[in-house]
């Protein structure tokens, strides 16, 4: 079976982590991929040093975008805005267990990270 739909991905898809909304969060951002209809809403809290302490997401979309969002909410805990800013496709592929995303799915996988980056910029 495809790399993309392995147990690990499906786990996160069927049982997303940190699903929901953090009320009154410092970071609060909606982002969508208009071309495919994927949508995420990301909220996040930081400590005084600017490290992420809690990240939640809501949204709908394909396995790739939703599993990536779910994994991301765990992956980024403890990181600073600068560390998030430097994350790229490679980090996301690694986070997803070393998959090699095809061109058509990159946007899906990057949606949550892009949202978080933008949310952190906006919260400055």
């Amino acid at each position: 079976m495809s790399d993309l739909y392995r147990e690990y991905m499906l786990e996160h898809y069927h049982n997303p982590q940190n699903y929901g909304v953090l009320e009154g969060a410092a970071v609060d951002i909606h982002l969508d991929n208009p071309t495919c209809g994927d949508k995420v809403h990301i909220t996040a809290q930081m400590d005084e040093d600017g490290h992420l302490t809690k990240v939640m997401f809501e949204g709908h979309g394909c396995v790739v975008s939703m599993a990536a969002a779910s994994m991301l909410t765990e992956e980024v805990i403890g990181k600073s805005a600068a560390e998030i800013e430097s994350m790229d496709l490679e980090n996301i592929q690694e986070m997803m267990g070393g998959v090699k995303l095809s061109m058509g799915r990159i946007k899906c996988a990057m949606l949550a990270l892009n949202a978080l980056k933008r949310g952190l910029e906006d919260s400055d």
């Binding site: 993309l4 499906l10 898809y13 069927h14 495919c36 209809g37 709908h60 979309g61 396995v63």
Partner: protein, 410 residues
């Protein structure tokens, strides 16, 4: 199913390949069709034996290339029953054809308070040019609604046309999402009675059903070669009087009779609308594709696809949670079958089917307002052509069962 698909498939070299070790099941012809060997050979032939720039050339190579290039114009005219080959304009694709009309005819004929009617099921290429023209000229854009069953709601048409403000009705001859073939003759009659012209987007229809511009009575027709087995080239047909009254769209070589520093005179039809060096070999390829389809017969093609759609409806309906959009199988239904499957995202459907060698499209299919109308974020679409058969539908059904197994509600 009418004709011999296994023979037809042999004419398309791509079916010699496999995908991920599986048989290629190509169900995305509504996006772009595969090319038969005769089309590839026609282009290779020009490049190998008779290539030169067309028109004006006096030497043998140029004469041969021009003859091959111009012969397609005659084939296209016959194929859509255009009264004169000079009213057949070579453009890049259906999209450019529509934009040509929106600029050259639209800027001259659409003004403040005028109305343009399009439908809720238009492809963006037959929507955004009119939306932007209306904005540019202070005109009004109104939509003919689509019913829950995926048909055009013609009952609203008289009220939209009332008042004589409508200058143009632009409508697809076949929806690329729903497969709907609307009652265009009725629409043309009503529009003409109200003093409006009609542009038909034949991008989906021309490759799949017989299209006769004189019988339809339309004023403009566009279509794309790549959806009927030809390379990257498109056609705009329009009534002669309209083309003659329109200013040119693109300016440059070939479309002029004479150029002076501060004024130019335009060439005759069709050249007035063909600026610059045309896509020579591509147009020759279009001629070969039209010959290929004509040999099969457009009516036979339509029957074949109707049968496939019927078979697909029957077999897809057994999959739990699968919903098809658009009218039921029948003569006014093309071979595009769009569906959703439970709450599984169409991207995942397409990705998992790809693993099985099955090519379907997932997304909005360049018809976002139509998806909004149905409250959908995206659909998956399987679309049929001459090289598809019941076995392809069987593979699709099997593939979808696998999708449900992997991603379905527990």
């Amino acid at each position: 199913m009418g004709f011999d698909v296994s023979e037809i498939r042999k004419a398309f070299p791509i079916f010699n390949r496999s995908v991920h070790g599986k048989r290629l099941v190509f169900l995305d012809s509504a996006a772009s069709a595969q090319k038969p060997q005769v089309v590839i050979d026609a282009m290779t032939g020009i490049y190998t034996h008779s290539y030169a720039n067309v028109h004006r050339g006096i030497y043998a190579l140029a004469e041969e290339a021009t003859e091959a290039y111009e012969s397609t114009r005659h084939k296209v005219a016959k194929f859509i029953n255009a009264p004169e080959p000079e009213t057949v304009i070579n453009v890049r694709n259906a999209t450019e054809g529509i934009n040509l009309v929106a600029y050259a005819w639209g800027n001259q004929n659409i003004g403040i308070g005028d109305r343009i009617i399009i439908t809720e099921m238009e492809h963006h290429s037959n929507l955004v040019p009119w939306q932007q023209l209306a904005q540019r000229r202070g005109a009004e854009l109104v939509y003919l609604p689509v019913t829950a069953g995926g048909e055009l709601d013609l009952s609203v048409l008289p009220s939209l046309l009332a008042g004589g403000k409508t200058k143009l009705v632009a409508c697809s001859l076949m929806s690329n999402v729903l497969g709907t073939v609307p009652p265009v003759k009725e629409l043309v009659a009503a529009a003409h009675k109200a003093g409006a012209l009609v542009l038909l987007d034949g991008a989906q229809a021309v490759p799949h059903i017989p299209v006769d511009v004189q019988d339809l009575g339309c004023d403009f027709l566009v279509f794309s070669g790549h959806k009927l087995g030809a390379p990257g080239v498109g056609i705009l047909w329009a009534r002669r009087e309209l083309l003659e009254a329109m200013p040119p769209f693109l300016y440059g070589g070939d479309m002029i009779l004479s150029v002076d520093k501060y004024a130019s005179t335009w060439n005759d039809l069709p050249y007035k609308f063909e600026a610059g060096t045309p896509a020579i070999a591509e147009v020759v390829g279009l001629g070969a594709a039209i010959d290929f389809l004509s040999d099969l017969g457009m009516t036979a093609i339509h029957h074949h696809e109707q049968a496939l759609v019927r078979y697909a409806f029957e077999h897809l309906s057994g999959i739990p949670g699968l919903q098809i959009y658009g009218p039921p199988p029948g003569p006014n239904r093309g071979g595009a079958v769009s569906f959703t499957l439970q709450d599984i995202h169409p991207h995942d459907i397409a990705s998992i089917l790809d693993e099985e060698g099955i090519c379907v499209r997932a997304g909005l299919h360049c018809a976002e307002p139509l998806h909004t109308r149905f409250g959908l974020h995206a659909t998956a679409r399987a679309s049929f052509y001459i090289y598809n058969d019941a076995a392809d539908v069987d593979s699709l059904v099997e593939g979808l069962r696998k999708v449900v197994m992997i991603l379905g509600r527990k």
